[in-house]
Structure formats: structure tokens, C-alpha cells
Symmetry: C2
Subunit: 169 residues, 2 copies
DNA sequence: ACTAAATAATTTAACATTAAAGTATTATTC
DNA sequence: GAATAATACTTTAATGTTAAATTATTTAGT
């Protein structure tokens, strides 16, 4: 572990903490993903189903805000979920909006998977005491700040705080 | 912030800490990426150049281990870097190996960008005291454990601890 | 009412990412 | 020394991801 970069003490400390933060989030999502894969779900698909389960029907733009994803991405994720019959698109009164509903199959699937996901997460996090989890949350919250403070879906694994960076072209 | 899931206290605590961890890492990488984009580099490309700068010439498989990426991914990232003339592929004596070298342009670019990246990271992390950074590192290290303990490149932003999960097909 | 602005969703192009299969090269084993 | 295994890299197919451009619809301003 640690960094090989030769710099000031502060630089080395910062790089070290940053690297461990990235490692931890990557490692956790990576260890949690086999369960989702076994249900044929990607992280994004799981996050979408989970938001729909816990927050109820939403339009795509709202889902994008919850998941911190761009509209184009939501279109694709929903396309794939719809193709598998897990969600249903429904045009609203305002025909610009499309409300997303879980189908029966979608609801069954996410209700089956979410508890397992939570179990796995509990097992992972129990390596820390309750006080340590609290402290980790506090530190991460400080670091993550600057973002717009949207409500994060439960247990989903999201990327990119601002749907505006890291793009191509 | 926080979770909307109704569960036991432990479940809520764990979800809360987990979500904040994900938020922090996403938020940080997202806030760091505009600088890289301005140099036309993706996170993966930056990570590759940075490893080559600080660890010297490497073969692709070794680079993949450092960046915790699959071979196929490394092939593509190196393709793109090579196309821009930032790295050079060199067949080794053992003709299965390809050693990657920074070109002059590649070296100049990463030497120009890395200090800026580090500056930006320092600014982000200074929201925490040195003791908090240390504690964050300690907690994240515990959480990230279970992985194989490879050396992480300095300042790079990686994904996936194990080059084996989250795939498709 | 008509235009202009705003909003929601989609499409497009480029790159990232994985797993799995394929190719080339080297090492091992009989 | 020829068959086999191991290793390194590439290719392929699928999904994800973004920014930017496009389309459809609604709202606001005149």
C-alpha cells in the first residue's frame, strides 16, 4: 500500500489517504457486484430498480438526479431494464415526461436481491465498529461535500457526483 | 444525505456509511477529472502515464496489475495513448511481452499534469486535518482489505480491486 | 396566437470496462 | 523433439458512461 511518489509529508499523506479511499470504494463495489451479476443486473440497473422500489414511480430525469447519471445514460439503462420486462415506461399527462414503474417481475427481482445485497454489505462493513462506521461516514461526508446534496438511493453503487464530467468527444 | 431504507439500526448505519463512502470517492474523482479532461486524458490514461512516470517502463500485464484493470482494457488504453504518441510499445526479448515506454511527449504531458492534479487533490483533502486523513486512511484500508495488496499508483483514480467482476455477457 | 425559451427524452460518437474466446510465443514434460 | 501447458496480448460482444446535438412538448412573453 501507500504511495511511491517522493514529495512533501503533506503530499505523501494526502496521496496515501486518497488512494486508500479509492481502493476501499472500488474493492467494496467489486466484492458486492457478483451477487448482482448473478441476477443479471449491472450496478446501474440495480440502482435504478432499488430507487424505484424504495421511492416509488419516478420520471427518468428524476431517476437521473437520484442516481447522479446523465439523461443519456438513464435512457440506456431503462432501455435494458424495459427490454427485460423489469420496468414499464408510461407517458404522463405532460407528454414530455415518462414515468417509470416497476413491473411485477421487476419488483420481485429487486425485492429478492436487495436483502441479499444488504446482507453482503453488512458483512463487509462489520469489519468496522459502529463508532468507526460513524466516523468514516463523517469524514467521507466532509470530503464529498461541494456536491448538491441530493438524496442517495439505498445501497446503490453510483458514480460521478456531477453529471457533467469525465465525458468524451 | 442518509438513507430512506427502513431497517434495523445497524442496517441504516451501514447503508449510511456506505453511501457516504461512495459519494466521497465519486465526488472527488469527478471534481478532479476536469483537469485531466483539459489535457485530453481520461482517468485510465492518466493512471497509465502516471505509473509509467513514477515506476518506469513496464509490460502491459504489469501495468494492468498496478491499475487493477483487465488485459483487454489495458490494450485499449495503451492503443489510445500510442495513437496520440504518448507511449511507445516495444517487443521484448521474450516476444510475448510488450514493454511500454513514455515518449518525450508523454513524459512532458504527465510531468505537466501530475503536479496540477496533486495540487487539486491537496486542496480537496485539506478539508480534513492531518489526523483525520490518517484516520480515513486507516478505516478505508480495513474496508478495502481482502484484496491482494498490490501497490497502487500515485494519484491515479482506479476502479475494481479485482480484475474479474462486474463484467458483461 | 406566435415566437422563444425551457424541459424531457433520445440519439450519436467516443472511450471505458468486463468476460470470454482467440492468437502468438515460451516453457515444461514425456 | 513433439505434445502440452502456461503466459501475454488482442479481439469481440455487451453494457456503461459522458457531452453534445436533436426531437418533442410545454410554458412564457409579447
Amino acid at each position: 500500500m501507500g504511495t511511491r511518489y517522493r514529495g512533501t509529508r503533506e503530499e505523501v499523506n494526502v496521496l496515501d489517504a486518497f488512494i486508500k479511499l479509492m481502493r476501499a470504494s472500488d474493492s467494496l463495489t467489486s466484492r458486492l457486484s457478483p451477487l448482482l451479476s448473478s441476477a443479471g443486473l449491472t450496478l446501474g440497473q440495480f440502482g435504478a430498480l432499488e430507487v424505484l422500489l424504495h421511492l416509488g414511480p419516478l420520471c427518468q430525469s428524476e431517476l437521473g438526479r437520484k442516481l447522479l447519471r446523465t439523461g443519456g445514460n438513464i435512457t440506456m439503462v431503462v432501455d435494458n431494464l424495459e427490454r427485460r420486462g423489469l420496468v414499464r415506461r408510461e407517458r404522463g399527462e405532460d407528454r414530455r415526461f415518462i414515468t417509470l414503474h416497476l413491473t411485477k417481475e421487476g419488483r420481485q427481482l429487486i425485492q429478492k436481491i436487495f436483502p441479499k445485497h444488504l446482507d453482503a454489505l453488512l458483512r463487509e462493513m462489520r469489519i468496522l465498529t459502529e463508532a468507526e462506521q460513524k466516523e468514516l461516514g463523517r469524514l467521507c461526508k466532509k470530503l464529498g461535500k461541494g456536491s448538491e446534496g441530493e438524496i442517495q438511493a439505498e445501497g446503490g453503487c453510483k458514480k460521478e457526483i456531477t453529471p457533467s464530467k469525465g465525458g468524451r468527444k
